[in-house]
């Protein structure tokens, strides 16, 4: 059957029967919607039930431990904070720089189209493949070992296409009249960008960057692949230190056959989701605040 072609010869003159079929179908659809919404509710309720009791000051300030009652997420929180800061420092300038190049500098030709297609494809490369790239290039070839820097570089590569695509959209949305007015007053291309295009596009760029960072904050697979699943009972103090992070700690506690550690995993999930939720809320606030 070709798309759009109605099936002929199946006309049923009984309007009531056809309406009833429609109602049945609508309830099936409602069931599907309910399945998705119920999954979210079950997930959140079970997390709250398991995780909230685990939360305490000690939990937030203790190192991981073999004893569930003494274990905490201190090194994981610090590791995730370091990680997010380093990823932000690396992916923001590079992602925005590449976006400025593609939108403001690049000529319209096949090569530019190829560059854009390349970024679209990078955005859909599985995160585990970035982990493999990070393992081979950062951990082994550049000998960064299992450091924060190796992890952050890996995650930055993963986040770059996301930041780039969001930044390009924001830059494209800046009306050309702004650029033309700046040129008319004698501004150079960079002066027009620096003083007019970038400030106008910044809310979109920032909210896209934060969304990219919140993706990085929840990523587990690439960090596992570069070998970050280690026991860290100290504060990471420099980018060259070994680290753990919240997702890694959650993974670790979930694999533990002893059930006591599952409650700790749930507690760490509540912390992680809290952080990600705040980041997403910040992104939405920034977007709304500057949107007219």
């Amino acid at each position: 059957m070709s798309p759009g072609a109605p099936r002929g010869g199946r006309f049923d003159p009984r309007l009531e029967a056809r309406r009833r079929a429609g109602v049945r179908f609508m309830w099936l659809c409602r069931l599907a919607v309910a399945f998705g919404v119920a999954s979210l509710v079950v997930l959140l309720v079970s997390l709250a039930a398991d995780g909230l009791p685990a939360l305490s000051f000690e939990f937030l300030t203790s190192y991981p431990s073999r004893f569930p009652e003494r274990a905490g997420v201190r090194s994981a929180i610090l590791g995730s904070a370091w990680m997010l800061a380093l990823v932000a420092v690396m992916s923001f300038p590079l992602g925005v720089g590449a976006a400025l190049y593609l939108e403001e500098y690049a000529p319209t030709n096949r090569f530019t189209t190829l560059l854009k297609t390349n970024i679209a494809n990078l955005a859909s490369v599985p995160s585990i493949v970035y982990g493999i790239l990070g393992l081979a290039v950062f951990v082994r070839f550049l000998a960064l070992e299992r450091s924060l820097l190796a992890g952050a570089a890996t995650l930055s590569l993963l986040v770059l296409p996301i930041v780039n695509i969001a930044a390009r959209e924001a830059i494209r949305a800046v009306p050309d009249s702004l650029r033309e007015a700046a040129y008319a007053l004698g501004a150079t291309r960079w002066q027009a960008i620096r003083h007019h295009v970038l400030p106008a596009a910044m809310p979109g760029i920032l909210s896209g960057t934060i969304l990219g960072l919140s993706r990085a904050g929840g990523e587990t697979a690439p960090l596992l692949i570069i070998g970050a699943l280690t026991f860290i009972a100290f504060d990471p103090l420099s980018p060259m230190d070994p680290f753990t992070a919240l997702p890694i700690q959650i993974f670790n506690w979930t694999t533990d056959p002893r059930g006591e550690f599952h409650a700790l995993a749930a507690g760490a999930i509540v912390v992680l989701l809290g952080v990600l939720l705040m980041m997403n809320a910040a992104a939405i606030l920034i977007r709304n605040r500057f949107e007219r």
Partner: protein, 303 residues
């Protein structure tokens, strides 16, 4: 500084302009480097692997036992595990996601849309490790009470949770496809006496089919690439089983298993990681390109 005076743009500024252009191109060049890096890393280490194992044995062999003597590097058991979980996830996510999309695009009131869509967006933003926890602590125990004899690790738990995970992707992309169908088609159908149900199922869905197919393919690709849920829930038993209640190992779970052990650079075990990674990369790339092509064709059909 005199540079603000008309006609006096100094040489200094022009050099700076060119430098900035070069810097910006440099940051773009990094994304080319990333692509080249992925391809080169996967290919070079895989070539080392294929120097020792014939590609035929790798692609057609039905026994995967990289560390037990006699060693055997047939990847089909891992592919089987991956496809089994992906198929189970698709069985849940594709019909549910499409029905959700039809409901949101054709039936739902604005108020329902405003509550359901954010809920699905939250579901889409939850990190995979949280889904993994959900599989291990909630879905697996339920399955084990329903079906006695189900192991701690089983494909069904992973498939169910991966299905829930990719559901928002199917529903939101399919809804985009349905919303893109021009209203004139709907009105024409109403004009000849079709009911709302008939308009939805016989006009809108067929017209949006390429876009729906694109969302299905992308979701399957995501399920194939999923790592954490399958590692936590499906286990590490490579096998040719089609039984969802048994433990399987997926390609991604194998990659995690190798990297958790400390395989030295250059060893055959280290290299299997890249060979399996290369196959995974090629499969997902093919699916993503197919999905992209269908989306473009779909967009063009309504111009």
């Amino acid at each position: 500084m005199r540079k603000s005076e008309p006609g006096s743009v100094s040489r200094h500024t022009r050099v700076g302009e060119r430098l900035i252009g070069a810097l910006l191109f440099g940051s773009e060049a990094l994304s080319i480097l990333a692509t080249v890096g992925i391809v080169v890393v996967l290919l070079t280490e895989s070539l080392g692997f294929f120097a020792e194992v014939s590609p035929v044995e790798f692609l057609a062999g039905t026994r995967w036992s990289p560390d037990l003597v006699p060693r055997s590097f047939g990847i089909l058991p891992l592919v089987n595990g991956t496809l089994l979980v992906a198929a189970g996830a698709a069985l849940i996510a594709l019909p549910t996601g499409l029905a959700t999309a039809i409901y949101l695009s054709e039936f739902a009131s604005l108020r329902t849309k405003r509550t359901v869509k954010p809920a699905l967006e939250i579901l889409a933003g939850i990190p995979t490790v949280v889904y993994g926890y959900f599989a291990v602590t909630l879905v697996t125990p339920v399955l084990r009470t329903l079906f006695p004899g189900v192991g701690v690790f089983n494909a069904a738990s992973a498939a169910i949770v991966v299905g829930i995970m990719i559901l928002p992707m199917v529903s939101s992309l399919s809804e985009d496809a349905l919303s893109a169908v021009p209203d004139s088609l709907r009105e024409a159908a109403y004009g000849v006496g079709a009911t709302r149900f008939e308009v939805a199922t016989r006009i809108v869905v067929p017209a949006g089919l390429p876009g729906i197919a694109a969302s299905f393919i992308l979701a399957i690709s995501r399920a194939i690439a999923e790592t954490i849920v399958v590692t936590l829930a499906a286990g590490a038993t490579p096998g040719m089983t089609l039984d969802l209640l048994q433990s399987v190992q997926t390609m991604t779970a194998y990659i995690v298993q190798v990297s958790l052990g400390d395989a030295p650079s250059g060893s055959i075990e280290y290299r299997t990681l890249f060979a399996v990674g290369l196959l995974l990369f090629l499969i997902t790339l093919a699916l993503n390109l197919l999905s992209q092509r269908m989306t473009t064709r779909f967009r063009e059909s309504f111009r």
